[in-house]
């Protein structure tokens, strides 16, 4: 099981509704996976600025002290916004790597969910309705977003085992299925210097795509490579700063429905997730083909 939803706005007038539409889609999929839920929302970034989304399970954790320490160490102006157990730091894009090192060395209780110019990731254990409310996802504006509700099979039910997984700047992946060769691929990628936060198979898929894109592939090309190298069952929905992709394995037993109008592209594990989208009556609705890369860009 697991439920996936995705929404890619083609019409800018949909952007203020993106969080609300994505939240409703995800809540509809709750009974496909009640363990944990998460979303990646791509907002409008600011030129030369980047965002780091952090998570800390302790509600009394001192965000101000963290920001002060980062400001002192990097000399950057840092804006911080807290949302539930997560916080988003905005700082100069050039300071992200330095800030990340400081976080790992001195503030390990704050875990990095994502980094990038546009992406923010929010995920927690629990039902989608509770998770989207805790982060006020319905109030978010964005160009595209991806959501996942999890029925755990491959690793523990924890915040970090929840989807989406982000292993590169502005990249994210959600997965319905299970991979069978993820341990080998994890070892190969670790040898190349990629790091992993969990034992989860889906994180390996995310890192695999990151590695391909680091080597110069675009998202569409990276997904073509995944068909060759990843073994197992998968329906993936992936995001980059300006792109949105879908891929199903050749057996394609994990369900998928897509809809496209001149205003949006939408993905749902089931048609139920799509029924409240504006103009769905006139949309082209189809089941994505097995072993076929679908890929849109802004």
């Amino acid at each position: 099981m697991c439920g996936i939803v995705g929404l890619f706005a083609k019409d800018k007038r949909l952007e203020p509704q993106l969080g609300a539409l994505l939240s409703d889609m995800l809540i509809t999929m709750s009974d496909r996976g009640p363990d944990s839920a998460g979303v990646a929302v791509y907002g409008h970034g600011h030129d030369g600025r980047a965002k780091i989304t952090l998570q800390n399970g302790d509600p009394d954790a001192d965000l101000d002290a963290l920001v002060a320490a980062l400001r002192h160490a990097t000399g950057e102006t840092i804006a911080a916004t807290r949302r539930g157990t997560h916080a988003v730091l905005e700082l100069g894009a050039g300071a992200v790597n330095a800030a990340r090192r400081i976080l790992i060395d001195r503030f390990a209780e704050w875990r990095v969910m994502s980094t990038g110019g546009a992406i923010e990731i929010y995920k927690e254990v629990g039902l989608p309705a509770r998770v989207v409310e805790a982060f006020d996802v319905p109030g978010m504006t964005g160009t595209h977003g991806i959501g996942h509700t999890r029925m755990a099979t491959e690793s523990a039910v924890t915040t970090h085992g929840a989807h989406p997984f982000s292993t590169g700047a502005d990249e994210c992946l959600v997965h319905n299925g299970s991979l069978s060769n993820h341990n080998n691929i994890r070892r190969d990628l670790a040898r190349k210097g990629l790091t992993f936060e969990t034992e989860n198979d889906s994180e390996v898929a995310a890192a695999y795509l990151t590695d391909r894109m680091n080597d110069g592939a675009d998202l569409g090309q990276a997904l073509e490579c995944a068909l060759r190298d990843l073994d197992g069952f998968f329906t993936f929905v992936v995001g980059t700063r300006d792109g949105f992709g879908v891929l199903r394995d050749p057996i394609a037993c994990k369900p998928a429905v897509m809809a496209e109008t001149d205003r949006f592209v939408a993905f749902g594990s089931e048609y139920r997730a799509l029924v409240d989208l504006p103009g769905i009556e006139g949309a082209r609705v189809w089941e994505p083909e097995p072993a076929t890369v679908y890929f849109w860009r802004h």
């Binding site: 089931e270 048609y271 139920r272």
Partner: protein
């Protein structure tokens, strides 16, 4: 007679199915319409009366499953497992059907006016399935009895490990599965196909445009020469 309207926006799914299933115990309301299906699962399942049910929109998993006698029309597309294990009657999908349409069906007629996805007619045991568009991979896998008619193309592995079902395809077949082979179209097959096409309302297709596929029957008995493969 006007149809009895059931609205999923107002009436719970279980009550709607109970009202339709109750017709098996006698009733004079033969025409029903279901509004606002919104992709609901297990809609109009387990019917056992000669009633007509029209669903105004797209359905989720298992619509029309285990049907006996009833005619269920989906004026939209159907999710996975439409008409699964149908016994008799008809299920008609105006749009597309997702995976394993008509799986394990024992009788009746399933008509898909759009495309059907993978595993269409998997393990069919007597059902007739007519698809206007294409069907996906692994269709009629382990099919045992019945007829699958495809006006479009068939995906990879058609009829893998098939027993005795008949498969008729007008378009191309990406590949045949193990022990599935093309067979001669004899007069009785043309007559059968003519009846199925007419029954399904496919007036623009002619039986002589189709090719027939079925079991080569080489998997029926264990071949000792293959022992080393196990």
């Amino acid at each position: 007679m006007t149809a009895e309207l059931l609205d999923l926006a107002q009436t719970p799914l279980r009550d709607i199915n109970a009202a339709l299933q109750a017709q098996a115990r006698g009733g004079n309301r033969t025409r029903w319409e279901i509004a606002n299906p919104r992709g609901s699962h297990a809609l109009a399942v387990g019917l056992d009366a000669p009633i007509e049910v029209t669903i105004r929109g797209s359905t989720g998993y298992y619509c029309g499953g285990m049907n006996k006698q009833a005619t269920v029309r989906i004026a939209g597309s159907a999710g996975p497992g439409v008409a699964e294990n149908m016994m008799s009657g008809r299920v008609i999908v105006d749009g597309d059907a997702s995976q394993y349409a008509g799986a394990t069906g024992r009788g009746g007629l399933l008509v898909v006016n759009g495309n059907a996805a993978s595993r269409c007619g998997i393990s069919m045991k007597g059902i007739d399935i007519v698809v206007r568009g294409n069907i996906g991979h692994s269709s009629a896998f382990m099919a045992q009895k019945g007829n699958l008619v495809v006006l479009g193309d068939a995906g990879e592995g058609l009829g893998d490990s098939i027993y005795e079902a008949r498969l008729f395809v007008r378009g191309t077949v990406s590949s045949l599965g193990a022990d599935c082979t093309e067979k001669e179209m004899r007069p009785e097959h043309l007559a059968l196909l003519d009846r199925l096409l007419k029954d399904a309302g496919m007036d623009d297709a002619r039986p002589d445009q189709f090719r027939r596929y079925g079991s080569a029957r080489t998997l029926y008995n264990f071949n000792i020469d293959n022992a080393s493969a196990y």
